[in-house]
């Protein structure tokens, strides 16, 4: 029992005296970019509380979508600074967690991982974003569910098909949820359509794809070493395409 008390006491003393030289204000930052923001920027402030200068050996992010920059290469004793992490949102949705690894010449804690958590507001959640029929299948309607994101009040949505070969029907199912029924006129040939989905009070556009696919290909015998080019796409508009003869549904 005495040994246990001694261990606990020693641990506490060690913790109080073990001060790292590079002290971070926080190593985890949560950002809430607004709708339409292209970037989310996190600031990680630090101070050199030690007696010797600290040199940054490297500052690198976990992915190419995040750029991390240090204000200075060397931090003198007592000096403060910050590392800026700029996260390019692009077409990302939901909670994104990106890390920045900072390496210094400070011993023994040479590596620090900074975490940037960005909660990207999603106005409309579409599931699935792709519906397809195989050639020759019965042209039965398939349903895409559109749900308003948290903190968004969506009363009406408009769905436009880029191809007249697909019909869409929108039905509100309540509580910000919509049912979009997509039906091809026929499944005899490989055709595709980009469905543009927009809510009434927002300029942002969302997309889904509807397609008649070719029949499944017969697998080639194993051992073929080269990767062949993907088969030529059927007459599908590149998205976000300007609809050629749009058929639109509003609800």
């Amino acid at each position: 029992m005495k040994t246990q008390i001694l261990t606990v006491t020693l641990s506490f003393i060690l913790c109080l005296t073990a001060r790292a030289e590079l002290k971070w204000e926080q190593t985890s930052v949560e950002l809430h970019p607004a709708r339409g923001d292209k970037q989310a920027i996190g600031h990680f402030k630090y101070q050199n509380v030690g007696k010797a200068p600290i040199h940054f050996k490297s500052v690198h992010a976990s992915c190419g979508c995040t750029a991390a920059q240090s204000q200075k290469d060397q931090v003198a004793a007592g000096e403060k600074g910050e590392i800026t992490a700029t996260f390019n949102i692009g077409d990302r949705t939901g909670t994104q967690i990106k890390t920045v690894t900072v390496e210094t010449d400070e011993a023994p804690n040479q590596k620090t991982v900074l975490t940037l958590r960005a909660i990207i507001p999603t106005e409309l959640e579409i599931s699935p974003t792709f519906v397809f029929w195989k050639q020759g299948d019965k042209p039965a309607p398939k349903t895409i569910t559109v749900r308003a994101g948290k903190d968004f009040d969506v009363k009406h949505i408009k769905v436009t098909s880029s191809s007249p070969d697909f019909q869409t029907k929108v039905e509100e199912t309540g509580q910000g949820q919509f049912k979009v029924d997509v039906q091809p006129n026929e499944t005899g040939r490989p055709i595709a359509s980009t469905l543009t989905i927009q809510s009434e009070n927002s300029p942002k556009t969302f997309y889904a794809t509807a397609r008649i696919t070719t029949a499944p290909t017969v697998p080639v015998a194993p051992g073929a070493p080269t990767i062949q080019k993907a088969p030529p796409a059927p007459a599908a508009p590149t998205a976000p395409a300007r609809p050629s003869a749009p058929t639109s549904q509003t609800h």
Binding site: D91, Y207, T214, A224, I227, T238
Partner: protein
């Protein structure tokens, strides 16, 4: 008494190993000891090459890296331009195709994120992440 204490602690520690090992075996398909991506969603370069024409390769790296070099025939699909690039990929996909997503090396999360979006949003079956990424493909092919 000290030996009794140590013996009791060791017995408890050993007993706890049994259900732990059992769970590790039960969850072996859902979690890999080597990487955060489960084994059922990973594919090696050799396995992917065996699929030949029934595989579609996706490059999840940023545009400039794709432009520099990529697997011949691979389609670029990254989250920077997801809305623009996804329909181009979907135009090339057909049922029965296996999708192989890669990015730079094992520690890169881009391939995993793109693969997850294809599974969840587009609800595509047979989506895999290439073990070892672009570097593993280079090693086997160049």
């Amino acid at each position: 008494m000290k030996f009794l204490l140590a013996r009791q602690a060791l017995i408890l520690a050993a007993l706890s190993l049994l259900p732990g090992v059992g769970q590790a075996i039960y969850f072996r398909d859902k979690i890999s000891w080597r990487s955060p991506i489960p084994p059922s969603e990973m594919v090696s370069v050799d396995q992917a090459r065996q699929w030949a024409d029934s595989a579609i390769w996706i490059d999840a790296r940023p545009d400039n890296e794709f432009a520099g070099d990529h697997v011949p025939g691979a389609i670029s699909l990254n989250e920077d331009r997801w809305n623009e690039l996804l329909p181009q990929f979907l135009a090339a996909w057909s049922p029965g195709k296996k999708v192989v997503v890669y990015c730079s090396a094992q520690s890169c999360d881009l391939a995993r994120e793109v693969a997850e979006r294809l599974r969840k949003e587009a609800q595509l079956p047979d989506v895999f992440v290439l073990e070892g990424g672009w570097e593993a493909w280079l090693k086997k092919n160049r």
